[in-house]
Symmetry: C2
Subunit: 522 residues, 2 copies
């Protein structure tokens, strides 16, 4: 339609321009803008605390949540404050003129609402959603809506593929100039279980490329990066990582320095506090990270057990098919292994205690936990068989040879040397309490989740020495008063919380006969 | 299990106590705590920005999100800053000693996760969820998860009942010492449509009790409270409201001063930005608010039209049954009316323009919009028939008599007098632009959503004079160049945005014959 303009210039309009001011507050993944309550623009525009606004100077722009400021200590009327990340993201100097306006919700939220109504989304929808997330256009609420919608109606396997592709497309991608880049991943949920720190040295000692970028713990008592950090530096720039890998055929570093599938990190920061989990999200998350890291051949370990993430064979098979479908479509050579997830692997739970287990295995120490050794050898064997020159079924023997000959230990020392030896000497927590069996019998059940909780409350992974050292495993006999595990902590209050939690529910069940212990996948 | 303690007291533990410090930042419904990055407790405890922490002094405690502060301007190491609302909520003086700890997710999130998996929840589940929300234990993310879960798998009608009960149980409840307390509610979505401001004076003039607590606009260009505010004070303490209602049998005030169903307000603050909507949430929201306000007899208006909230008769019927089911179970006498939602009701959209329409109807002004008059009379008639002394079918005639005799106008003046006359004189926005028909023909379609958007962008409801004045309604003839509506704004930039939006899509369709106009519910 046409229009007939009968407006007169408006003299009383408030100034639309504000002066940019950094505010020394770290709001993590959430951009926050601070506007003074007496600012004319605030009153005229009808902004409301927590509403979403766009900040721009005509060229760059960011989306933020609004906080309203009183008093004159933080900012003054006429200024626009930005939290640390938001200020960096906008990239303008303090004092620069900026405009603010109401932010429309990201347009891809329409697709999210279709997903909420139960529809399947297209490849383009997932790409739009991931682009909007990666450019900070989604609030935490909006990400939660997306995740719940995906989790509830479930994702068709094609949708898992699209989501994986979209997460991959919205981040960096490493390439290693090698035909075969091996990797392994465990879907998690089992305390201890530090196989990567044994598998990677074995594979690299064999000469296969395995640039392992691992994660820090988010809800567990320790991630591979946290445990490796007891021995060596793990936060390395990508270039340095590349040099080490070129020389040593591997590394065990933290994956966070490269911007691999950053949308995945955003989604995880919402998924974890909500404790929502779906197969589709998990597969997309793992495979996008691995493909972004440049892996060509991937072994996935799915532990199965009553207190593992996957409880039974049916679930495990469904998950395997989904991994295979997406992996095949994206040209990733992928194999899935089911492992015994009925109890922790190794004895230590928490960075220092786990690092001790790992080194004992590498050093063929007589006290080395055999389950950790065996599982690592099986995994390493399967990965070695990615090598066309290795005959099917021979991987295990080769892996054992590399381990027993000390070549894996030597490789680990090379990694530590190259990545930089940890300068701080960590030791198990000074505060200790042994938890005692209250009857004669056999260990029939170990609750992975409860032991993880106790180790975390004790301070792991932040306090490297905190955690749980498990003396008894499934099927072993105990007598009343015999210690079954020991809690380690650094600080009194953590120690108190952890022991109280353990006294309330120690996570270990003792039965009268060893036959009460359920077998693996029974 | 028992335990053997072999700990020694720990001398090096950081002090666990922080000094409380208010921070002059308004974070609305979200509690934020500020902790200095150099604070020992921050480093030792492994807190992370945006993680959730509990703040307590042994007696009172609150849950907050954590922001990490650098520099020494906002707070110093050893202090714990709290945003304005959080500080008030904790209720301790500045300088008081407080402890912080990691906050566990609220236990009712387990029920939310069951809902995400598609299960129905129990009465107790809904009560637990509403209690946790009302005591600020839910983050916005968690509320979003709850809302999406309810919206996606849908709520069984029993669940809608439980949710309504739970929202009612977690707030205050007014009581009016009267057998019949009438109320009306429109589910919204139709611009203009200020029938309450005509219906309430008619009903109160008849002598029936109608203490109308109405809302402000959240996503619309004006709520009844915003429009009434052009004429009178609407923010009144509950006691004052009660006095006015006692004397005048009614009022038209903002409902926000009483704590009626506060959980509903929290949920709405998440629902609206996400633009997710479900029948179950809507019914629980409306009925909990009305029951909390002490209503015994309620008329619900469901406008039906292509750009209304409810698009067709099927949807309208389903919604009616749900209202009836929950209303009956909770002892509310409830009637539902379907109305024509194909276009705005009245001419004005925005507070000042709507108030003008309302006063014209009350004053029987020759220019008074007839559709607003007719709809108000029909609604008022139905409400009057709640009175056992009014014969079925006679309500309309009585309502018309009250309106035409000037008694409704007199009652409105009494409300204004009692609530307090608005001291500020509002007038339509100074900046105006008429939107012209680009062909000869008939108005065949009016897009409620687009007109609402234009009025909001023009500044409504914050700028009282901003909005849209609609000259032509469905079926009316126009000639090319004739104005169809006029945009009003107070500020240049809003004005520009609104006219641009209108030039892009004016929201009005002109057809060649009047027969192209779809009928109501066709």
């Amino acid at each position: 339609m046409k229009s007939k303009n009968s407006s007169h210039p408006d003299d009383s309009a408030p100034p639309r321009t504000l002066t940019l001011q950094p505010v020394a507050i770290d709001t993590y993944h959430e951009n926050v803008a601070y506007l003074h309550r007496d600012c004319e623009i605030y009153r005229a525009e009808g902004f409301q605390a927590l509403s979403r606004i766009q900040v721009d100077n005509g060229e760059s722009s960011i989306l933020t949540v609004l906080n309203v400021v009183d008093g004159n200590e933080i900012i003054r009327p006429g200024q626009l404050g930005l939290s640390e990340q938001a200020f960096r993201q906008l990239g303008l100097p303090a004092g620069h003129a900026v405009h603010i306006s109401h932010a429309e919700p990201p347009s891809s939220m329409q697709a999210v609402r279709r997903k909420i109504s139960g529809h399947n989304l297209s490849r383009q929808d997932y790409l739009d959603i991931c682009r909007d997330i990666s450019s900070n256009r989604y609030s935490k609420m909006e990400m939660a809506a997306f995740l719940v919608a995906c989790g509830q109606s479930g994702l068709e396997r094609n949708e898992v593929l699209y989501l994986t592709e979209a997460m991959l497309a919205t981040g960096d991608r490493l390439s290693w100039n090698a035909e075969l880049v091996a990797d392994k991943h465990c879907i998690g949920g089992i305390p201890g279980n530090r196989t990567s720190m044994i598998v990677v040295p074995i594979i690299a000692a064999h000469g296969m490329l395995i640039p392992k970028t691992s994660s820090r713990a988010i809800t567990s008592p320790s991630g591979t990066a946290d445990t490796m950090e007891v021995l060596a530096q793990v936060t390395l720039p990508v270039d340095e990582l590349r040099q080490i890998v070129e020389q040593e055929r591997g590394c065990i570093a933290w994956g966070g320095t490269a911007k691999l599938a950053p949308v995945d990190d955003r989604l995880i920061s919402v998924e974890r506090p909500l404790a929502i989990d779906s197969d589709g999200q998990m597969v997309a998350s793992i495979l996008s990270k691995k493909l972004a890291a440049g892996s060509t051949n991937l072994l996935i370990d799915i532990p199965v057990g009553p207190s593992a993430k996957v409880h039974n064979l049916d679930q495990a098979l469904r998950l395997r098919k989904l991994f295979e479908f997406v992996g095949d479509k994206l040209g990733l050579h992928l194999e899935v292994m089911f492992s015994d997830g009925r109890q922790p692997v190794g004895r230590g739970i928490g960075p220092v205690l786990e690092a001790r287990d790992v080194m004992q295995v590498l050093e063929s120490h007589p006290d080395a936990p055999n389950d950790l050794r065996q599982k690592s050898l099986i995994l390493a064997g399967r990965i070695l068989e990615f090598d066309p020159d290795v005959r099917g079924g021979q991987g295990y023997v080769i892996a054992r040879d590399i381990l027993d000959s000390g070549r894996a230990l030597k490789k680990m020392h090379a990694f530590i040397q190259q990545q930089g030896k940890q300068l701080q000497a960590f030791s198990p927590g000074k505060l200790t309490r042994e938890i005692l069996a209250d009857m004669d019998g056999y260990i029939t059940h170990i609750d992975n989740l409860q032991l993880s909780r106790i180790a975390r409350i004790a301070g792991a992974p932040m306090d490297k020495g905190a955690g749980v050292d498990l003396y008894k495993k499934l099927g072993e006999s105990v007598v009343a008063g015999e210690p079954v595990y020991c809690i380690f902590a650094e600080f009194q209050s953590d120690f108190q919380f952890a022991t109280n939690m353990s006294l309330d529910n120690c996570g270990i069940t003792i039965g009268e006969t060893a036959a009460d212990t359920p077998g693996f996948m029974e």
